[in-house]
């Protein structure tokens, strides 16, 4: 069982090593990185490449660890008992399985995605420590122990809004998806738009990375934004020559709305681009 990237997802060497280590050692892997670098995509692609079922558990600020295991619906049972429903005699009727339970029951080794774990309360990861370590948990209401038939491949994503506890981190592999370098980016674009013009890509990349390097920019454009922008450039059939434009009055790249997402950034970029081009001309 080895992950090698797929036809629609470019995985760097270090990412592959980390994912394969997690698969082989049957431990969770935590994936962090800038927004839009494909953290959530990774789980879907791992599932696709290993031909496994994917179970996603999206975490919200109100999510409790217990909800991933099971929930006991006491209110419905109370109502049923007052109506004299036969169902009330078996407590199992009121236990609904959580995502972890589903993953543990699976016949084939599934991929369990715990998406944006940092959204939950600070204690959330601690509450899942044992469950993810031993891959089993105890149901108090029925007195049974649920044990994983096949230890699922657990992929956890985090946006760094909260720090995760050390004890939790110690049990996991960790990977930080760094922003792709121009070569990897070219491969990524290739996967999405195989018939894009070569010179258009080159000019667009230059602008894209220039924008990312602008000091003080509030929101750096990410991979997914580049891909959107390229799509726009393609549909509008923008010529590569326009992107090479040196006229200071036309410094803002065409269709920049896809890349720069607030007006302060647009102003800042305008100013800085003007200064740096002028400096370049002086050097040359």
């Amino acid at each position: 069982m080895k992950f090698e990237g797929t036809s629609s997802y470019i995985a760097t060497e270090d990412l592959k090593v980390a994912v394969n280590a997690a698969i082989t050692l049957e431990r969770p892997i935590i994936v962090k990185g800038e927004p839009g670098t494909g953290k959530t995509m990774l789980a879907h692609e791992v599932a696709k490449s290993l031909d496994a079922e994917i179970i996603t558990w999206h975490i919200k600020s109100t999510t409790k660890a217990q909800q991933g295991l099971y929930e006991y619906d006491a209110v419905t049972r109370l109502r049923d008992s007052q109506l004299g429903d036969e169902k009330v005699k078996d407590i199992k009727n009121y236990i609904s399985k959580g995502k972890l339970w589903n993953a543990f029951e699976s016949d084939k080794r599934p991929v369990l995605l715990i998406d944006e774990i940092d959204k939950a309360d600070i204690e959330f990861p601690n509450d899942l420590l044992l469950e993810l370590d031993k891959m089993e948990f105890f149901v108090y209401e029925t007195g049974e122990t649920i044990k994983a038939q096949n230890r699922p491949i657990v992929i956890i994503t985090s946006n760094n809004e909260k720090e995760l506890p050390d004890a939790f981190l110690r049990r996991c592999f960790f990977h930080y998806i760094k922003f792709p370098d121009p070569n990897t980016m070219e491969e990524i674009v290739e996967v999405h738009y195989p018939d894009i013009k070569k010179d258009l890509i080159q000019e667009a990349f230059k602008i894209f990375y220039d924008i990312r390097e602008v000091p003080g920019i509030k929101k750096k454009p990410s991979t997914s934004e580049l891909i959107d922008w390229l799509k726009l450039l393609m549909t509008d059939d923008v010529d590569a020559k326009i992107l090479r434009e040196k006229d200071p009055k036309k410094l803002i790249p065409p269709l920049h709305g896809a890349l720069l997402k607030n007006e302060q950034d647009v102003h800042l970029f305008e100013r800085l681009a003007f200064i740096s081009r002028r400096e370049n001309e002086n050097v040359e």
Binding site: R170, E213, E279
Partner: protein
């Protein structure tokens, strides 16, 4: 051989534990990667041992040191080159002919040697040209330039694809906990200071209690409870004007982060040291100030106090009455600070000046002493420690 590496990491104060080391050994044992491939081993050990992108850069450095036998002094020189020199500005694009024209300077050792010499000779930022260290030039040192045998320092990617080793690229240096500080990161650091409690109006349905009570009484008995809130209360004091002008940006960030993070927060401004008055609006500071006594009497002692300032002034401004540069103060700054500390048990000082300079500034040492060493640098690490201290 790996044991040494592990201890090197520990020594560099990376938070690695035995469990992670054993995990790495298990992975090696199960042949997750080809053990003869150093790159793969680097990726694997990084994934198993480093759990926070803040430490990636440190890890890269230790890895380079442990497995390449790089001598420490050289590593240190590389570390000391300010990022600012290497800012992506005015990058020079060379033609192939130009590239051919550039000659190599000799072997690796010689390059390192010359680099050290250059570093000593050169004191200021440099750009273009072909000798000094800077950006976009053709000297073998510095980043974004081209020289076939160049040593790359602080460059984010191997631009001309003559890269050395993966870990030497130090791709994660901007994620180092001591360097990067944005509002978002500050917020995360400030979140250490939380104390949840249910207080006030009962607005939420307490489901568990309702069920229990209903079962007990035999009819539906709804129970309510107050919402869970962070009940930390904070007083922030900002030094403004003078030498603090250089730190405006970071103070702004800290302020905006603190304002969203703490529900109960009050802020005041002061200049250089705390005296008998503070103010809330910098434009009206002379007409509209607030007596420090009033502050001490208004806010109860369970408030946590954070002072932000560079603590850089003449020592007289702290220790003598009348020492203030702006007006005649009846009582010394020290008296006022001590009064403040007597009321508020939990107080710390955040200093935007890097920690290594503190001992050299007399006034900083005095304030640090008054605060019984509870002075922390205004970095993510520093705020983190400071919040732990406040939580005590």
């Amino acid at each position: 051989m790996f044991i040494n590496f592990f201890f090197d990491l520990k020594q560099a104060s990376l938070p690695v534990s035995l469990k992670e080391y054993l995990m790495l050994m298990e992975a090696m044992n199960k042949r997750v990667v080809d053990s003869f491939n150093v790159n793969d081993f680097y990726y694997l050990s990084r994934s198993a041992l480093v759990k926070d992108e803040r430490y990636l850069d440190k890890f890269d450095r230790v890895f380079g040191h442990s497995f390449k036998g790089l001598e420490n002094p050289q590593g240190e020189t590389a570390k000391e080159i300010p990022e600012e020199w290497l800012k992506l500005m005015g990058q020079k694009y060379l033609t192939d002919e130009e590239k051919k024209m550039i000659e190599s300077l000799g072997g690796w050792d010689k390059l390192m040697e010359t680099l050290k010499q250059r570093l000593e000779e050169q004191k200021k930022r440099h750009q273009g040209g072909s000798k000094w260290i800077g950006t976009g030039g053709t000297s073998p040192f510095g980043a974004y330039g081209y020289n076939p045998e160049g040593i790359r320092i602080g460059q984010k990617e191997g631009k001309n694809k003559k890269a050395v080793k993966v870990w030497d690229k130090r791709e994660f240096s901007n994620l180092d906990g001591d360097v990067e500080l944005g509002t978002r990161n500050i917020k995360i650091a400030l979140r250490r200071l939380r104390k949840f409690a249910r207080e006030g109006a009962e607005t939420e349905l307490d489901l568990d209690n309702t069920i229990k009570s209903t079962a007990h009484k035999g009819y539906i008995d709804v129970k309510m409870m107050p919402e869970r809130r962070n009940k930390i209360k904070v007083l922030l004091f900002f030094d403004v004007g003078g030498s603090m002008d250089a730190h405006v940006k970071i103070c702004e960030e800290l302020f905006s982060a603190a304002r969203t993070e703490f529900k109960h927060m009050e802020y005041f401004y002061y200049h250089n040291c705390l005296y008998d008055a503070v103010w809330k609006d910098n434009n009206r500071r002379y007409n509209d100030n607030i007596k420090t006594w009033d502050v001490l009497h208004t806010y109860p002692s369970d408030y946590k106090v954070i002072f932000v300032g560079d603590a850089e002034m003449s020592p007289y401004e702290i220790t003598y009455p009348g020492g203030s540069v702006e007006f005649w103060n009846e009582e010394s700054g020290e008296t006022w600070l001590t009064r403040m500390l007597n009321v508020y048990e939990n107080a710390i000082w955040l200093n935007p000046i890097p920690e290594r300079y503190w001992d050299r500034i007399a006034s900083t040492s005095i304030i640090k002493q008054i605060f019984s060493d509870r002075m922390f640098p205004l970095t993510i690490e520093g705020i983190d420690q400071a919040m732990r201290e406040l939580n005590k």
